[in-house]
Subunit: 412 residues, 2 copies
């Protein structure tokens, strides 16, 4: 059995997990990869004395780049710089790259895949969406005989944990966030999670893969969960929904797509409604297969590391063959303005006079479904019929009886 | 772009679906397979006049076997004979084979995989478990960095449809079965489904793949759903469970495994509990990744055909390279007697005197949890603590106050 040398760039949570999994499962991985995998270098600017493998740490990226024995490079540094330059240089040097870096793939995926194609090496990033859950490879391979037309999912475990606490334990947003921080699920600065940026990167990657053209983060309307109140959670529950932060992308009739991240009311009988705590789930819809759902832990050291290592195994096993993962470059007109797409909305607002407000709503949206119970709090809450979103918001704004209405999307 | 010739053996529901998908998606499939795929022969003893592709039908298998231009053969005839002889001959002739035939794979998988390995061709059968849901390939590839230790799932859509009708609409078993037959979900002779044989074949394949050695159908204790009553469904509901037919296999401490098919009480908060109607779901547990669930339509012409075609694409793309799918031969001692494994049981029985019966149960199982409401029907129903199964059944049998107790498993 031959030995293939790999380098791991970054020794944070995921990076140390990757090294641990590669060492702990050395023999079974060698059987699967049909080669021994040797971690020759670990690139990190910090020192890690006292580890079994402390002698493998280096601080100079060029040692990896110039070492022709390194066939596969794992990028788990995170962030765009210097990850982008390093990954690009590795691919151009004919090394395969595996990464968990969703920010990098969402920003530069099409370009990096193109370089990998030209150099006949692999650029794999299963761990960038759904952590350890197999999602990207099954979409690319197993659903290859399908025309996919919709993908959506709970893509961020931190926000799902917070919403689950709000839904199941009636905990206010701030308290749930504090608990998530205490448990290590949320960062001190939680913006990437609670404002939806993390989910945005993931829906970019999913939409790019499902529909074949790159979607950039700035093309995705992104809304976080900071404005969700316990009233919203309660009214949604009364109406038979739960509120989840979802990434959502749909192929439209003209070949363009919509792409959004928003908190949405999910019907209780939808498979996503039962996905709680830090779990993630991705639903894909194809013309032949119908609905397919992938569920599991979307983050965490070992789940994510195991996905990266599976990519490494695949690269080592296919040093001479490319995997199918690829998509074309994007276009500024490819993602439509979501306001032009049909949707249902949920609306909640303080009112002076419940009966007058309801009448005013009915006057513009005669199929609105009011949620009972809101009136006890001097509010109205209702779900609109499905219409083009900007027409809906115009109609809602025209009802002067609604004070500062809070508006959420409803998944059809 | 080169053209690769394939043959399809069998033009039933799945076979005609395979041909339709290959023809309808010809261009996009060629892009993914990096070769044009040409259906050269369709083997079926029946005549199919009037189709666009009627000229491709043949009745002599030897035309396929002896045609060296046929690189990939699709076996969708079903049954063991002559599928087994044909598939074996094709593999030995150096042709890759894709099949949806779970009976064949469960009976002869290890042998056929071995021949494929010797001939350096592929033997793929994604569609044999979970229809169109990607399950086998993600387990083999994406979870490759994991030691898997448990796999279980709702593997049969027909029985899940029947149980869903019983649970949600209080329909009796016979009526639900009749409805399933009327809708085309169940065969005139429903035994393969309702007696658990279909699920048995699928758990054999899953356990073989997850744990690395072949499991044969006669090694799996198999129990169907014909004895489930509406009382069981109701009592389970009161206690916070739903009854589902599951295939279940677990790696034990000594390297052996357990493998069962049985109707089991599933806790409402388990992801399987929400899998209704004809949907299937497979849960896999790994040391690094934790719980991963795959969900979708487990049967049907197009979902199944799309999985077969994805395998064909994979074979065509990898004519020179083998996929990793493989496992070792089985052994008669490899699967333990399930009675020696720890489990919880649900027990329901008619009794003459509820109070006396409960006291007698408590005398032998002091942690039994009685389900309130059963006494209204002159019955007791309870859930036992987790113990070795044969000790539990001995204890239950020792309680003379229980008349013909009905016993079901409870998923922990």
């Amino acid at each position: 059995m031959q030995t293939v040398n790999v380098a791991v760039m970054g020794h944070g949570v995921v990076g140390s997990g990757v090294v641990e999994v590669l060492l702990a499962h050395e023999e079974s991985i060698a059987l699967k990869a049909k080669n021994k995998i040797n971690v020759k270098y670990i690139l990190d600017l910090r020192d890690f004395p006292g580890l079994d493998y402390s002698d493998r740490f280096i601080k100079d990226f060029n040692l990896i780049l110039k070492d022709e024995s390194i066939k596969v490079v794992v990028e788990v540094m995170g962030g765009i710089n210097p990850a982008y330059e390093y990954v690009k240089a590795c691919l151009e040097a004919g090394k395969s790259v595996c990464t968990s870096n969703k920010e990098l793939v969402a920003a530069h995926g099409a370009e990096l895949l193109k370089i990998a194609g030209e150099k006949n090496v692999n650029f794999l990033f299963e761990a960038s969406v759904g952590g350890g859950i197999p999602v990207l490879r099954p979409i690319a391979q197993c659903l290859a005989a399908n025309d996919l037309y919709e993908v959506f999912g709970i893509l961020n475990g931190t926000t799902n944990f917070i919403l689950t606490k709000m839904i199941k334990e009636n905990m206010a947003f701030d308290d749930a966030l504090a608990l998530a921080q205490q448990l290590g699920y949320a960062e001190r600065n939680p913006s990437a999670d609670v404002d939806g940026h993390d989910a945005c990167r993931k829906i970019c990657i999913l939409a790019s893969l499902c529909f074949g053209r790159h979607v950039y983060p700035n093309q995705v309307r992104t809304e976080g969960i900071t404005k969700i109140t316990l009233s919203d959670v309660m009214y949604a529950g009364i109406a038979g929904y739960v509120i989840k932060l979802i990434g959502h992308s749909k192929l439209l009739d003209d070949g363009k797509i919509s792409a959004d991240v928003y908190p949405a009311l999910i019907p209780n009988d939808n498979q996503l409604a039962g996905v709680d705590d830090v779990f993630n789930a991705v639903m894909v819809r194809g013309d032949a297969v119908g609905d397919v759902l992938f569920y599991g832990r979307g983050a965490g050291k070992l789940p994510t590391a195991s996905a990266v290592v599976a990519d490494v195994i695949d690269c080592v096993k296919h040093l001479q063959a490319r995997k199918y993962l690829s998509w074309d470059d994007g276009d500024k007109d490819y993602v439509v303005d979501s306001k032009t797409v049909k949707t249902k909305l949920y609306v909640r607002a303080k009112v002076n006079d419940v009966i007058a407000a309801k009448a005013a709503v009915f006057a513009v949206l005669d199929e609105a479904e009011f949620i009972v119970g809101a009136e006890d709090n001097g509010e109205v809450a209702f779900i609109t019929p499905a219409m083009v979103e900007q027409e809906l918001t115009l109609a809602i704004e025209s009802v002067k009886e609604l004070e500062n209405p809070a508006i959420l999307h409803v998944l059809n």
